[in-house]
């Protein structure tokens, strides 16, 4: 694993009994790199994050190789580590921000104490220093009068303020990897802009790797440099945001970009029929064999019944999985006949 790589996921499979939920998920994130993971419900994007964090729900099994270079080099496969070893890493080497800021905070504890707790837990600071640092962190996430906020209980804060507190907790121990799972989906659009900015500033200041999960293409394009597109438990396309969204290869990405574009590239509004992807996302475990998208794809042929190989699209410092697609009949470029 190269020095700059913070997280490497190799051949990650997750299954519930005999039902596959994630198949052969492979990607890597470098230090300071901001990578988006985009997908619809049931695509497996949250499961990917939970696998990395070792927080998979009971009954789900994971195989593959997940390595994190944080305070210690990436000697261990996280999937093989015990709960105690993982707990030591969570909130320290890697941390996560969830969608719902209310349930992520303990309603019976003051906000400042919750920020300080994560530092005490990992013994990164003394009690007194942790308390001071907590107020500092609350200030960094743009909360006005942080000393006052530190003494508040979660219910006294607005949704946006709570999400800032959650972010402060996640950043408290300067993690090497920050995972955000739909952190702004529950927030208003004006609040979202600020929180996105804080996430970017937070990881930039720490040179942390960011894995940002969302269903919103605009949000990914705003926050991240690179994006992984997930569908049916597989990564179907990956690459720099500009290329993946501006000139997609995989037919699913192509459909997704077209369907989400309500205004048209030139900002002109038309009441034309929107391009759609036929059908609906199948429930987990009901995706077809071979190419997971072929049942909804207008370009599918017999060959699509076999799993499409990963086609690299270009060089990328984060490796072959960072830039490419898995499609027999890709869109765009010269290949499109």
């Amino acid at each position: 694993m190269p020095d700059r790589t913070v997280l490497r996921v190799d051949g990650l499979d997750v299954h519930a009994g005999s039902t596959p939920l994630l198949q052969d998920v492979s990607f890597a994130i470098d230090r300071g790199e901001r990578v988006g993971l985009i997908g619809e419900s049931g695509s497996g994007k949250s499961l990917t994050a939970l696998s990395v964090m070792g927080l998979l729900p009971e009954g789900l099994g994971a195989t593959g190789d997940v390595r994190l270079a944080a305070r210690t080099p990436a000697e261990h496969n996280l999937l093989a580590l015990g709960e105690r070893a993982l707990a030591r890493m969570r909130g320290d080497g890697m941390s996560m921000v969830f969608q719902e800021p209310m349930t992520a905070l303990n309603p019976t504890m003051r906000v400042g104490a919750q920020v300080a707790e994560v530092m005490l837990l990992h013994r990164t600071r003394s009690r007194r220093a942790a308390r001071e640092r907590a107020v500092e962190l609350l200030e960094q996430v743009g909360l006005p009068d942080p000393a006052h906020v530190a003494r508040a209980y979660p219910h006294e804060l607005s949704g946006g303020q709570r999400q800032r507190v959650v972010l402060a907790i996640a950043l408290a121990n300067d993690p090497a990897l920050l995972i955000c799972d739909e952190p702004t989906t529950a927030l208003d659009v004006t609040v979202q802009a600020t929180v996105l900015d804080l996430v970017v500033r937070g990881v930039e200041a720490r040179q942390a790797a960011l894995l940002f999960i969302t269903h919103d293409l605009g949000v990914v394009a705003t926050v991240c440099e690179r994006v992984l597109v997930m569908y049916g438990g597989r990564i179907v396309e990956a690459g720099p945001v500009q290329d993946v969204f501006g000139d997609p290869r995989h037919r699913y990405t192509q459909g997704l970009v077209a369907a989400s574009d309500l205004s048209g590239a030139d900002g002109r509004r038309e009441r034309a029929r929107l391009p759609t992807i036929p059908g609906s996302v199948p429930p987990a475990g009901r995706f077809p064999a071979g190419c997971v998208f072929r049942t909804r794809c207008a370009h599918a042929t017999d060959v699509c019944a076999t799993p499409p190989p990963w086609t690299p699209r270009g060089e990328h410092p984060a490796g072959a999985t960072a830039y490419g697609y898995a499609c027999f009949h890709p869109a765009g470029g010269e290949e499109d006949g």
């Binding site: 619809e40 208003d188 004006t190 949000v219 945001v241 309500l262 205004s263 929107l274 759609t276 609906s280």
Partner: protein
């Protein structure tokens, strides 16, 4: 339909709705919240009218008032010229045939213990019409579903299909006005376009007036002719869609437009920092006037 085209579909005159919050102390009176404040607007027949606002802006309360599910504390609401604001629910039978609703969450807006047939037929049964077999099949077909769907339960369908069922139910009594409350907010992107197309189709096909509420400006922009921006219970700006987009007058509208992380903007190089800075700048402007 018999009335002249001059009568507007919906007319609001100085509509307000106050709620009393739960008392927090035995000594002080219960605090009063203005959910809707002095809203006046006229929606013409056949118009597609959008209401945009963030959470807590009062847009859902306003919809409930227009739909006769709640009564305003002040002001008048006329639907096709007939008053809705001072009528008890049992005297609004006519409104149920004139105006119908589509809700946000296609799971919770369909009773999980009822078959699709009974769900779609519910507005008809409420009117005392009982043999609805044919009509239900017609309606399902109109929203692009097969008649076989009638015998199944809501949980057997995907979110997009459930929203189709919801639209079929709304069309059942043959309404003139369709009110949609965030109808695509809970849907996946790839399905959202399907449902927007469907709404577009039925509004055109059945000559409906559309009132469309959303927090998502780009969706409203795609669907509506005219848009009202709502904040803290008030309409801060009402304008034809394109005018609102190209030349927003109110600082809050400007702030909202600036805050949307638009794909094209982002690909053109607009970062999270730009976005936040824009919102903050407009916010300061807004604080002065708003």
């Amino acid at each position: 339909m018999g009335e002249g085209t001059g009568t507007p579909a919906v007319e609001l005159r100085g509509v307000s709705r106050q709620f009393r919050r739960r008392r927090t102390s035995l000594l002080t009176p219960a605090p009063v919240v203005d959910a809707v404040r002095d809203v006046s607007v006229t929606v013409a027949r056949g118009e597609r009218f959008g209401i945009v606002g963030e959470s807590g802006s009062g847009k859902s309360t306003l919809l409930r008032l227009v739909s006769g599910l709640d009564q305003p504390t002040a002001g008048e609401i006329l639907v096709e010229g007939r008053p809705v604001h001072d009528q008890p629910a049992r005297r609004l039978g006519w409104l149920r045939e004139t105006l119908q609703l589509v809700f946000q969450d296609p799971m919770s807006s369909l009773d999980p213990r009822m078959r699709v047939r009974d769900i779609v037929a519910e507005p008809l049964v409420a009117q005392g019409r009982h043999d609805n077999r044919e009509r239900v099949h017609e309606l399902l077909e109109a929203v692009g579903m097969s008649a076989e769907a009638a015998d199944r339960y809501p949980h057997q369908f995907s979110g997009g299909q459930r929203q189709r069922i919801s639209v079929a139910r709304a069309l059942a009594p043959g309404p003139d006005i369709l009110v949609a409350d965030e109808p695509v907010s809970a849907l996946d992107v790839s399905v959202r376009a399907q449902v927007l197309n469907l709404i577009d189709e039925v509004v055109d096909g059945f000559d409906l007036t559309l009132i469309f509420v959303s927090h998502d400006l780009s969706v409203v922009r795609h669907v509506c002719d005219r848009v009202a921006v709502m904040r803290r219970g008030e309409f801060v700006e009402v304008a034809p869609t394109e005018q609102l987009w190209n030349d927003p007058q109110h600082p809050y509208t400007q702030q909202l437009l600036a805050a949307v992380p638009d794909l094209h903007g982002a690909l053109a190089g607009r970062t999270a920092r730009d976005l936040a800075a824009d919102v903050a700048r407009r916010g300061q402007d807004g604080a002065g006037t708003g």
